[in-house]
């Protein structure tokens, strides 16, 4: 399957906090979006990239991609599902 096309509607930087606040920041940012909108969450390597994608999935949102920024951080692209 090819990359899913997406346009980012909002961004949040979670590289200044540690788990579980990383996920909390993503969750709060998702709450402010409408169903179907796309959020990019900037995460540090290590625990945040290991755990946040799964937590976002468990909340029922659709993870689209984990983009390596090449600087030790990653952007997690999430489409909001539900209100």
């Amino acid at each position: 399957m090819a990359d899913l096309p997406y346009t980012i509607d909002a961004e949040v930087d979670a590289t200044d906090v540690v788990c579980p606040v990383t996920f909390v920041k993503a969750k709060v940012a998702l709450e402010e979006l409408d169903d179907g909108q796309i959020l990019a969450v900037r995460l540090n390597d290590g625990e945040p990239v290991q755990n946040v994608p799964r937590s976002v999935k468990d909340e029922g949102h659709q993870v689209l991609k984990l983009v390596d920024n090449g600087d030790g951080t990653y952007n997690l692209i999430v489409r909001k599902v539900g209100d």
Partner: protein, 287 residues
């Protein structure tokens, strides 16, 4: 008539420092008690004990300060309230378990039912020395599988559906073993590195990773006078029946090779790990 303290101990009545007082060990499977059982235990502790219980290191409950003349009444009232007494001495002990996949998001196997099946099959069985089973739901190992004579750890046997994969990259980072790599075109799994943790399955946003529950079994763990970690000598087991064949074989090996009052670990080390492995593999393969 002389008091048969050994029989009392075998039935879960543990002698206390205080003469003719007993700490009564109850039967608990997988650390699970119903609210009704807890009420019964509380009532007995108030009526016959010192209004307190002790939680043991292996998920058991003991009611201390039961008096010798009350032993039979306590047994009868516990039984009426759906609570069984435990065991001590040279036999299969309390089967411990974490909450497993029924409750815990990390769980890879259902642990309560398995602990109950193990307990129903082996609990109280006479052996050369004590024998402990423990069941933990995943590689996080909250229940410490390898400190048991036979430890069971849940894992997922994974498979990959390329058609469902979008190459999003989540699993490559979720895997802590470095078993999944991508070259931009496809994912590659190094099965030698996979520890069956199931994090790829649980994190995959597109269900491209699928997992089938399996049992990772360890043998010969002990964490008392002697401390030794149980060893894995088999690949992850897929079938419940194979798990029980293997457990049967472990107990048979122990019965055959251990001297009285000798733990499984010591018996294995004297008879040799190769001897154990031969018998366990035979049981594993002969379904």
């Amino acid at each position: 008539m002389a008091v048969d303290y050994k029989a009392l101990k075998n039935g879960g009545f543990m002698r206390q420092v205080q003469k003719d007082n007993f700490s009564l060990r109850l039967k608990v499977v997988g650390g699970n008690l119903t609210a009704e059982q807890l009420i019964t235990i509380a009532e007995i502790a108030k009526k016959y004990g010192a209004s307190a219980v002790h939680l043991t290191s292996r998920q058991g409950v003991e009611i201390p300060f039961i008096k010798l003349p009350d032993v039979e009444a306590v047994k009868a009232e516990l039984a009426a309230g759906g609570v069984d007494t435990g065991v001590c001495g040279p036999r299969v002990r309390t089967v411990t378990a974490c909450q497993g996949s029924d409750i815990c998001p990390s769980g890879c196997i259902e642990t309560y039912g398995l602990a109950k099946d193990i307990s129903d099959r082996y609990f109280g069985r006479e052996l050369p020395h004590k024998f402990k089973f423990g069941v933990t739901g995943c590689v996080n190992n909250c229940l410490k599988a390898e400190e048991n004579d036979v430890g069971v750890k849940g894992g997922l046997i994974i498979s990959y559906d390329k058609a469902a994969c979008t190459m999003c990259g989540v699993c490559v980072k979720a895997c802590r073993e470095g078993a999944i790599t991508e070259d931009g075109e496809a994912l590659a799994l190094d099965t030698a590195k996979c520890n069956n943790c199931g994090r790829c399955v649980k994190s995959c946003p597109f269900d491209a990773w699928q997992g089938k529950p399996g049992y990772i079994v360890s043998f010969g763990g002990t964490f008392g006078n002697k401390i030794a970690k149980g060893e894995e000598i088999l690949p992850i087991i897929e079938e419940r029946e194979a798990l029980f064949r293997v457990a049967d074989a472990a107990l048979a090996f122990f019965d055959k090779n251990a001297k009285p009052s000798e733990r499984f670990r010591v018996a294995i080390e004297r008879a040799g790990w190769d001897a154990l492995k031969t018998e366990i593999l035979e049981a594993y393969n002969n379904g």
